[in-house]
Amino acid sequence: MTEFLAQHTPTLTHWLYLSTLLFSIGLYGLLTRRNAVGILMAVELMLNSAALNFVVFNRFCAPATVDGQIMAIFVIAAAAAEVVVGMAIFVALYRYRGTVDVNAMDTMKD
Protein backbone atom coordinates (compact mmCIF):
# COMPACT_ATOMS: atom_id res chain seq x y z
CA MET A 1 0.00 0.00 0.00
CA THR A 2 2.73 2.44 1.02
CA GLU A 3 4.82 1.40 -1.98
CA PHE A 4 1.90 1.90 -4.33
CA LEU A 5 1.26 5.38 -2.96
CA ALA A 6 4.96 6.29 -2.97
CA GLN A 7 5.22 5.31 -6.64
CA HIS A 8 2.19 7.38 -7.59
CA THR A 9 3.20 10.84 -6.42
CA PRO A 10 1.32 13.42 -8.50
CA THR A 11 3.03 14.40 -11.75
CA LEU A 12 2.63 17.59 -13.79
CA THR A 13 -0.41 16.11 -15.56
CA HIS A 14 -2.22 15.45 -12.29
CA TRP A 15 -1.67 19.02 -11.12
CA LEU A 16 -2.89 20.31 -14.48
CA TYR A 17 -6.02 18.14 -14.20
CA LEU A 18 -6.73 19.72 -10.83
CA SER A 19 -6.29 23.32 -11.97
CA THR A 20 -8.28 22.75 -15.19
CA LEU A 21 -11.10 21.18 -13.19
CA LEU A 22 -11.19 24.16 -10.81
CA PHE A 23 -11.18 26.57 -13.77
CA SER A 24 -14.09 24.72 -15.44
CA ILE A 25 -16.11 24.81 -12.23
CA GLY A 26 -15.48 28.56 -12.05
CA LEU A 27 -16.60 28.91 -15.68
CA TYR A 28 -19.80 27.03 -14.89
CA GLY A 29 -20.51 29.38 -12.00
CA LEU A 30 -19.77 32.40 -14.20
CA LEU A 31 -22.30 31.21 -16.79
CA THR A 32 -25.11 30.14 -14.44
CA ARG A 33 -25.11 32.64 -11.56
CA ARG A 34 -27.53 35.55 -11.67
CA ASN A 35 -26.31 37.34 -8.58
CA ALA A 36 -23.43 39.68 -9.39
CA VAL A 37 -21.59 38.82 -6.16
CA GLY A 38 -21.89 35.12 -7.01
CA ILE A 39 -20.42 35.80 -10.45
CA LEU A 40 -17.48 37.56 -8.86
CA MET A 41 -16.89 34.57 -6.59
CA ALA A 42 -16.76 32.32 -9.67
CA VAL A 43 -14.23 34.71 -11.23
CA GLU A 44 -12.14 34.42 -8.05
CA LEU A 45 -12.15 30.62 -8.47
CA MET A 46 -10.88 31.00 -12.03
CA LEU A 47 -8.14 33.47 -11.03
CA ASN A 48 -7.07 31.17 -8.23
CA SER A 49 -6.74 28.19 -10.55
CA ALA A 50 -4.72 30.30 -13.00
CA ALA A 51 -2.33 31.26 -10.20
CA LEU A 52 -2.09 27.60 -9.20
CA ASN A 53 -1.14 26.77 -12.80
CA PHE A 54 1.69 29.32 -12.73
CA VAL A 55 3.11 27.78 -9.55
CA VAL A 56 2.75 24.23 -10.92
CA PHE A 57 4.73 25.06 -14.06
CA ASN A 58 7.29 26.89 -11.92
CA ARG A 59 7.76 23.80 -9.77
CA PHE A 60 7.95 21.25 -12.59
CA CYS A 61 9.63 23.11 -15.44
CA ALA A 62 12.01 25.58 -13.73
CA PRO A 63 12.33 24.76 -10.02
CA ALA A 64 15.52 26.80 -9.59
CA THR A 65 13.71 30.09 -10.29
CA VAL A 66 10.74 31.84 -8.72
CA ASP A 67 9.20 33.58 -11.77
CA GLY A 68 5.97 31.61 -11.61
CA GLN A 69 5.53 32.43 -7.94
CA ILE A 70 6.04 36.13 -8.64
CA MET A 71 3.40 35.95 -11.37
CA ALA A 72 1.05 34.29 -8.87
CA ILE A 73 1.63 37.15 -6.40
CA PHE A 74 0.76 39.62 -9.18
CA VAL A 75 -2.39 37.61 -9.92
CA ILE A 76 -3.38 37.86 -6.24
CA ALA A 77 -2.75 41.62 -6.20
CA ALA A 78 -4.81 42.08 -9.39
CA ALA A 79 -7.60 39.98 -7.87
CA ALA A 80 -7.60 42.21 -4.79
CA ALA A 81 -7.89 45.37 -6.93
CA GLU A 82 -10.65 43.76 -8.98
CA VAL A 83 -12.65 42.78 -5.91
CA VAL A 84 -12.32 46.28 -4.40
CA VAL A 85 -13.73 48.04 -7.47
CA GLY A 86 -16.21 45.29 -8.39
CA MET A 87 -17.78 45.16 -4.96
CA ALA A 88 -17.97 48.97 -4.83
CA ILE A 89 -19.91 48.88 -8.11
CA PHE A 90 -22.29 46.22 -6.77
CA VAL A 91 -22.91 48.19 -3.57
CA ALA A 92 -23.63 51.30 -5.66
CA LEU A 93 -25.90 49.36 -8.02
CA TYR A 94 -27.80 47.95 -5.07
CA ARG A 95 -28.27 51.47 -3.76
CA TYR A 96 -29.66 52.74 -7.07
CA ARG A 97 -31.61 49.73 -8.30
CA GLY A 98 -32.29 47.68 -5.17
CA THR A 99 -31.04 44.50 -6.81
CA VAL A 100 -27.83 42.74 -7.81
CA ASP A 101 -29.50 40.46 -10.36
CA VAL A 102 -27.47 40.81 -13.56
CA ASN A 103 -30.54 40.01 -15.67
CA ALA A 104 -32.15 43.22 -14.39
CA MET A 105 -29.18 45.35 -15.46
CA ASP A 106 -30.23 46.09 -19.03
CA THR A 107 -30.39 49.90 -19.06
CA MET A 108 -27.92 50.17 -21.93
CA LYS A 109 -30.01 47.81 -24.08
CA ASP A 110 -32.60 50.48 -25.00
Partner: protein, 208 residues
Protein backbone atom coordinates in the same frame (compact mmCIF):
# COMPACT_ATOMS: atom_id res chain seq x y z
CA UNK B 1 9.01 6.06 1.28
CA UNK B 2 6.61 7.20 3.97
CA UNK B 3 7.23 10.82 3.00
CA UNK B 4 6.29 10.39 -0.67
CA UNK B 5 3.34 8.15 0.22
CA UNK B 6 1.95 10.80 2.56
CA UNK B 7 2.64 13.43 -0.14
CA UNK B 8 0.38 11.50 -2.51
CA UNK B 9 -2.33 11.05 0.13
CA UNK B 10 -2.31 14.73 1.10
CA UNK B 11 -2.39 15.84 -2.54
CA UNK B 12 -5.49 13.79 -3.33
CA UNK B 13 -7.13 14.82 -0.05
CA UNK B 14 -6.58 18.55 -0.69
CA UNK B 15 -7.55 18.21 -4.36
CA UNK B 16 -10.80 16.41 -3.55
CA UNK B 17 -11.70 18.96 -0.87
CA UNK B 18 -10.89 21.87 -3.23
CA UNK B 19 -13.06 20.44 -6.01
CA UNK B 20 -15.99 19.66 -3.69
CA UNK B 21 -15.85 23.08 -2.05
CA UNK B 22 -15.64 24.88 -5.40
CA UNK B 23 -18.72 22.95 -6.54
CA UNK B 24 -20.37 24.31 -3.40
CA UNK B 25 -19.21 27.85 -4.35
CA UNK B 26 -20.97 27.74 -7.71
CA UNK B 27 -24.07 25.81 -6.58
CA UNK B 28 -24.97 27.10 -3.11
CA UNK B 29 -28.32 28.89 -3.03
CA UNK B 30 -27.28 31.10 -0.16
CA UNK B 31 -24.40 33.38 -1.02
CA UNK B 32 -22.93 33.45 2.48
CA UNK B 33 -22.47 29.69 2.30
CA UNK B 34 -20.81 30.14 -1.09
CA UNK B 35 -18.45 32.71 0.46
CA UNK B 36 -17.47 30.31 3.27
CA UNK B 37 -16.90 27.54 0.71
CA UNK B 38 -14.73 29.96 -1.31
CA UNK B 39 -12.68 30.51 1.84
CA UNK B 40 -12.23 26.73 2.07
CA UNK B 41 -11.12 26.46 -1.58
CA UNK B 42 -8.56 29.22 -1.11
CA UNK B 43 -7.20 27.62 2.08
CA UNK B 44 -6.85 24.30 0.25
CA UNK B 45 -4.94 26.16 -2.49
CA UNK B 46 -2.61 27.52 0.20
CA UNK B 47 -1.94 23.92 1.25
CA UNK B 48 -1.27 22.99 -2.38
CA UNK B 49 1.21 25.90 -2.68
CA UNK B 50 3.09 24.52 0.32
CA UNK B 51 3.26 21.15 -1.44
CA UNK B 52 4.74 22.93 -4.50
CA UNK B 53 7.60 24.41 -2.40
CA UNK B 54 6.07 27.90 -2.51
CA UNK B 55 5.66 28.56 1.19
CA UNK B 56 5.83 32.36 0.92
CA UNK B 57 3.06 32.29 -1.66
CA UNK B 58 0.98 30.14 0.68
CA UNK B 59 1.39 32.83 3.33
CA UNK B 60 0.33 35.55 0.89
CA UNK B 61 -2.64 33.44 -0.15
CA UNK B 62 -3.85 33.15 3.45
CA UNK B 63 -3.06 36.80 4.25
CA UNK B 64 -4.63 38.44 1.18
CA UNK B 65 -7.14 35.98 -0.25
CA UNK B 66 -8.56 34.27 2.82
CA UNK B 67 -8.06 37.18 5.20
CA UNK B 68 -8.91 40.07 2.89
CA UNK B 69 -10.78 39.26 -0.31
CA UNK B 70 -13.24 36.81 1.26
CA UNK B 71 -13.94 39.28 4.08
CA UNK B 72 -14.72 41.98 1.52
CA UNK B 73 -17.00 39.57 -0.38
CA UNK B 74 -18.85 38.80 2.86
CA UNK B 75 -19.24 42.56 3.48
CA UNK B 76 -20.67 42.98 0.00
CA UNK B 77 -23.12 40.11 0.54
CA UNK B 78 -24.28 41.77 3.75
CA UNK B 79 -24.47 45.24 2.20
CA UNK B 80 -26.47 44.17 -0.83
CA UNK B 81 -28.58 41.73 1.20
CA UNK B 82 -27.92 39.26 -1.62
CA UNK B 83 -28.50 36.26 0.58
CA UNK B 84 -31.98 37.46 1.41
CA UNK B 85 -33.18 39.16 -1.77
CA UNK B 86 -31.99 36.77 -4.44
CA UNK B 87 -32.02 33.04 -3.79
CA UNK B 88 -29.71 32.14 -6.61
CA UNK B 89 -31.22 29.06 -8.18
CA UNK B 90 -30.79 29.30 -11.96
CA UNK B 91 -33.23 27.81 -14.46
CA UNK B 92 -32.52 24.19 -15.54
CA UNK B 93 -31.87 25.20 -19.16
CA UNK B 94 -29.25 27.68 -18.03
CA UNK B 95 -27.64 25.04 -15.83
CA UNK B 96 -27.50 22.55 -18.70
CA UNK B 97 -26.04 25.08 -21.14
CA UNK B 98 -23.47 26.21 -18.58
CA UNK B 99 -22.51 22.61 -17.84
CA UNK B 100 -22.13 21.86 -21.57
CA UNK B 101 -19.94 24.93 -22.10
CA UNK B 102 -17.69 24.25 -19.13
CA UNK B 103 -17.39 20.54 -19.94
CA UNK B 104 -16.44 21.45 -23.50
CA UNK B 105 -13.78 23.78 -22.13
CA UNK B 106 -12.54 21.02 -19.81
CA UNK B 107 -12.35 18.48 -22.65
CA UNK B 108 -10.54 20.91 -24.96
CA UNK B 109 -7.97 21.89 -22.34
CA UNK B 110 -7.33 18.31 -21.20
CA UNK B 111 -6.89 17.31 -24.84
CA UNK B 112 -4.36 20.07 -25.36
CA UNK B 113 -2.22 19.40 -22.33
CA UNK B 114 -2.30 15.62 -22.72
CA UNK B 115 -0.99 15.85 -26.25
CA UNK B 116 1.65 18.50 -25.70
CA UNK B 117 5.22 17.75 -24.56
CA UNK B 118 6.47 19.68 -21.54
CA UNK B 119 10.10 20.42 -20.89
CA UNK B 120 10.22 18.90 -17.44
CA UNK B 121 13.20 19.71 -15.31
CA UNK B 122 14.61 17.24 -12.79
CA UNK B 123 16.32 20.00 -10.80
CA UNK B 124 15.59 20.31 -7.14
CA UNK B 125 14.07 23.42 -5.66
CA UNK B 126 16.80 25.85 -4.52
CA UNK B 127 18.07 25.35 -1.02
CA UNK B 128 18.05 29.09 -0.37
CA UNK B 129 15.12 30.74 1.26
CA UNK B 130 12.18 31.10 -1.09
CA UNK B 131 11.17 34.52 0.31
CA UNK B 132 14.66 36.01 -0.20
CA UNK B 133 14.71 34.82 -3.82
CA UNK B 134 11.32 36.41 -4.46
CA UNK B 135 12.45 39.66 -2.86
CA UNK B 136 15.61 39.83 -4.96
CA UNK B 137 13.78 39.02 -8.20
CA UNK B 138 10.91 41.40 -7.48
CA UNK B 139 13.15 44.43 -6.96
CA UNK B 140 15.72 43.52 -9.64
CA UNK B 141 15.87 46.29 -12.26
CA UNK B 142 18.17 44.37 -14.63
CA UNK B 143 17.12 41.87 -17.29
CA UNK B 144 14.54 39.38 -16.00
CA UNK B 145 13.66 41.58 -13.03
CA UNK B 146 10.14 42.54 -12.09
CA UNK B 147 10.55 46.10 -10.90
CA UNK B 148 8.27 47.69 -13.51
CA UNK B 149 5.28 45.38 -12.89
CA UNK B 150 5.93 45.89 -9.18
CA UNK B 151 5.60 49.67 -9.49
CA UNK B 152 2.57 49.29 -11.74
CA UNK B 153 0.91 47.18 -9.03
CA UNK B 154 1.22 50.18 -6.71
CA UNK B 155 -0.52 52.36 -9.31
CA UNK B 156 -3.21 49.69 -9.74
CA UNK B 157 -3.83 49.67 -6.00
CA UNK B 158 -3.98 53.48 -5.93
CA UNK B 159 -6.59 53.40 -8.72
CA UNK B 160 -8.51 50.72 -6.82
CA UNK B 161 -8.58 52.85 -3.64
CA UNK B 162 -9.77 55.96 -5.50
CA UNK B 163 -12.28 54.07 -7.65
CA UNK B 164 -13.67 52.12 -4.73
CA UNK B 165 -14.13 55.19 -2.56
CA UNK B 166 -15.67 57.30 -5.33
CA UNK B 167 -18.10 54.61 -6.44
CA UNK B 168 -19.13 53.38 -3.00
CA UNK B 169 -19.43 56.89 -1.50
CA UNK B 170 -21.34 58.70 -4.26
CA UNK B 171 -24.48 56.70 -3.68
CA UNK B 172 -24.84 57.65 -0.02
CA UNK B 173 -27.98 59.62 0.71
CA UNK B 174 -27.11 63.10 1.96
CA UNK B 175 -26.27 63.37 5.62
CA UNK B 176 -25.34 59.71 5.95
CA UNK B 177 -21.76 58.93 6.99
CA UNK B 178 -18.84 59.87 4.75
CA UNK B 179 -20.31 62.91 3.08
CA UNK B 180 -18.48 65.23 5.45
CA UNK B 181 -15.27 66.79 4.24
CA UNK B 182 -16.27 66.58 0.60
CA UNK B 183 -15.48 68.72 -2.39
CA UNK B 184 -17.59 71.79 -1.66
CA UNK B 185 -16.52 74.09 1.13
CA UNK B 186 -19.87 74.04 2.89
CA UNK B 187 -20.29 70.31 2.78
CA UNK B 188 -18.26 69.66 5.89
CA UNK B 189 -20.73 71.34 8.24
CA UNK B 190 -23.25 69.38 10.24
CA UNK B 191 -26.55 68.24 8.75
CA UNK B 192 -29.40 66.37 10.41
CA UNK B 193 -29.25 62.63 9.49
CA UNK B 194 -32.09 62.89 6.94
CA UNK B 195 -35.50 64.51 6.68
CA UNK B 196 -38.61 62.37 6.57
CA UNK B 197 -39.16 63.39 2.93
CA UNK B 198 -35.71 62.23 1.86
CA UNK B 199 -36.24 58.98 3.66
CA UNK B 200 -39.49 58.32 1.77
CA UNK B 201 -37.83 59.14 -1.53
CA UNK B 202 -35.11 56.63 -0.71
CA UNK B 203 -37.67 53.98 0.13
CA UNK B 204 -39.46 54.56 -3.19
CA UNK B 205 -36.18 54.26 -5.04
CA UNK B 206 -35.47 50.96 -3.34
CA UNK B 207 -38.92 49.63 -4.16
CA UNK B 208 -38.45 50.45 -7.82
Amino acid sequence: MIASASYTVIFYLLAALAVLLSLAVVNAWKLLRAAIALMGVLSMSAGLYVMLDASFLAGVQVLVYVGGIVVLIVFAVMLTRSAELLQDNPAPLRKILGAIASLAFLAATVGVFRSSPFLLSAEKAPLRDNTTLIGEKLLDYGAGGYVLPFEIISLLLLIAIIGGIVVARKTEPQGQPFTTGGDEAGEAEFRPPFTQEEHEDELELVEK
